[in-house]
Symmetry: none
């Protein structure tokens, strides 16, 4: 059976950049392997959710895997904690936590506390009891912390504590309505915020860093509240045995949510120095035991989000180098794209379409004329414009496994 | 009023074929008329149902005519029996029957009994009574037999008896649930299967053929159970007086279901030697009395399904020859495409898009740059990628008959 390697470069697409003579990072990057994949494959532009829709990475990935996010999105917190991995029981509320820095007035001055390593401050399997509710905390990559809240009468139908900007105070009024569970969840979370502020402020590592003029974290921002939902597994939905190779916890969590096996690769850490070659090589090794291998590459997005278009270009070149072994594969279909575009100038995800390519056996793929991989080159691709939700059907059809409807 | 000739070449699209230097049958075929229609028209790629969706011809045609199959699909059996034509009353269960060959253990060894002529074995207006239920049988093209089951408390919500593969026995457990009608339908159909096996085994023609080493049919496989549904007629929906020119019963049945007149053309028989020229000439003659003329050409699909890509190419060339008179028409819009792609290598329908063209008066059509008709040439067509369900609106709009929504 023909296998599928499904590579997502987070935040791949971008907009014209003046310093690049109005080309994009992908367009100026030297990408001989991507160009060859495009030349031997079929290309197009993908609107992950829909035209002009600006998705978070979580909803983008659900769509890419063919799951309607309006039905199956459990909230980002669920993905984050599953990816760490942390245990999640029915009724638990899961959050993504971000270590942050606040000033004496409580105003956020650094939403990511200089991307401090959370393991410096949060011990493994940390537990905090507030009244009859238990919080479970687990350090994750860089400033990220997984948080699970366990107790009776709690709800995930609350606003983020994280105001998603600097210069303001965290949200304390997070109840969305006057229900008992909403009010109760707000009260408990406010006490937890205060507890964590106190705990972090007294942390010797933080005190030391503050003295040394280094970034320090004295607040834990919470966002993406969610509760576990049931979704049909990838195996149930497509009959494909699937695994995930990712450094970042969110993607591992999405994979776990969809019943994919999560494979940890030495050196694949979701950071700028992540070992991309090791990921691709591991993916190829796993072709023997899996039908569908999802490889996630994080950092082009992170660089665009801080406006480092030069860094994004270089990271794309490193991605390109890692892809070289794919071109030698037989009886394998490769999909390569991003989960969304990220503008290095706007420093945010955009709803711009992402260039996409499908490469595979010569008798499976109707090659188009596109010979370079980029935002504009793919405007002329044979796949045209398509939505992410239809992608799995398209790949499933290409490998000849799509079921027939009608007679 | 501008008229529409709507030509569907079944299973038209294909994939790159090694023996054709990785071109498709349509791409290597010599098709000067299709190329001229493309050159003078506008082209694109059609996803009959949706991207990557692999439709049967029945659901594909409903979509092409603008009917949502999820609402209006009555099961293939209904189309088959309407097309023969057989009478269908409310509450009747209709099946497509296929004459097949089974061995002594009851295992299917030829699902189509060498495409034997059913009229050799099944008399016209054949009737079989099993308990209080009457079966009506009618021979159709090649190995096909129309079957209508009439009685009280029957249901079409059952599985196919036909297992759709060889080397296994027909399904006898066909009840989908434990309802009385489901169980009753299963029992009666099992008795009918045994009756037909006995009837066919004793048939002198079969006995003679078996002795001579020819293919013979000793079993009647049933599939596509359906019950009559109401659908708005083509005239009600579009205000167009429509007719159908087809050799194969399925398409006649779909046409009848949608209230189109069915026109039988001498020599148009749904087989490889079908008279394509006669069909197109008849279509042109009927422009005086009809607004919309649906012409169906079957055999490219049948050849691809047996892996005969060379034959498919030649059949496409015959189709092309037949289309020549269309290029001289005035005040007529021609639509030409397939109902789906059929891969000659995979020997099955695929969800690959089908090349499509719209040709017509110079002031109605925004000609694109495409000068050849084929899977890849149409990747650059001015229609882009579109879904079958939107096609009728598009044609209706081109002839200036689309109604206004809003004010």
């Amino acid at each position: 059976m023909t296998k599928i390697i499904f590579v997502i470069a987070d935040g791949l697409g971008d907009r014209p950049i003046k310093e690049f003579s109005f080309k994009t990072p992908l367009e100026v990057a030297n990408t001989p392997n991507l160009d060859n994949l495009a030349k031997e494959g079929i290309t197009g532009l993908m609107h992950t959710v829909d035209r002009g829709i600006r998705p978070g990475s979580d909803i983008a990935h659900l769509s890419l895997f063919g799951y309607d996010y309006q039905k199956y999105y459990p909230g980002r917190g669920v993905f984050e904690v599953l990816g760490i991995p942390m245990e999640l029981k029915k009724g638990d509320i899961a959050f993504r936590g971000n270590l942050a820095t606040i000033d004496d007035r409580g105003v956020i001055i650094d939403r990511r506390a200089g991307r401090i390593e959370s393991s410096l401050l949060i011990p493994k399997r940390m537990k905090v009891n507030i009244e009859d509710v238990t919080f479970f905390l687990e350090p994750s990559v860089l400033h990220r912390v997984g948080v699970v809240m366990r107790g009776k009468n709690l709800t995930s139908d609350i606003y983020d504590i994280d105001p998603h900007e600097e210069g303001v105070t965290p949200n304390r009024k997070i109840a969305k309505n006057k229900s008992i569970s909403s009010r109760r969840t707000e009260i408990i979370l406010n006490k937890f915020m205060d507890y964590m502020h106190d705990y972090l402020s007294k942390n010797p590592e933080n005190i030391k860093r503050k003295k040394q003029g280094l970034s320090y974290a004295n607040f834990l921002n919470l966002r993406g509240p969610g509760e576990y939902k049931e979704a049909p597994s990838f195996l149930e939905k497509y009959g494909l045995k699937a695994c995930c190779i990712s450094g970042a916890d969110l993607y591992k969590g999405i994979a776990k949510y969809l019943g994919m096996d999560v494979i940890n690769v030495e050196g694949a850490n979701g950071r700028i120095d992540t070992n991309l070659n090791a990921k691709i090589n591991e993916a190829i090794r796993r072709l023997d035991s899996y039908d569908f291998i999802f490889v996630h590459m994080k950092f082009a997005d992170s660089l665009a989000e801080i406006g480092d278009f030069e860094g994004k270009k270089k990271f794309i070149e490193r991605i390109d180098v890692s892809l070289s072994p794919l071109l030698k594969l037989e009886d394998t279909v490769v999909f390569f794209s991003g989960d969304h575009s990220t503008s290095s100038k706007l420093k945010m995800h955009t709803g711009d379409p992402v260039p996409a390519l499908i490469w595979g056996p010569k008798e499976m793929i109707l090659r188009d004329k596109v010979e370079n991989f980029g935002e504009r080159a793919c405007q002329e691709g044979g796949l045209g414009h398509f939505r992410g939700i239809t992608l799995m059907n398209e790949l499933f059809n290409i490998i000849g496994k799509q079921h027939l409807i009608g007679d």
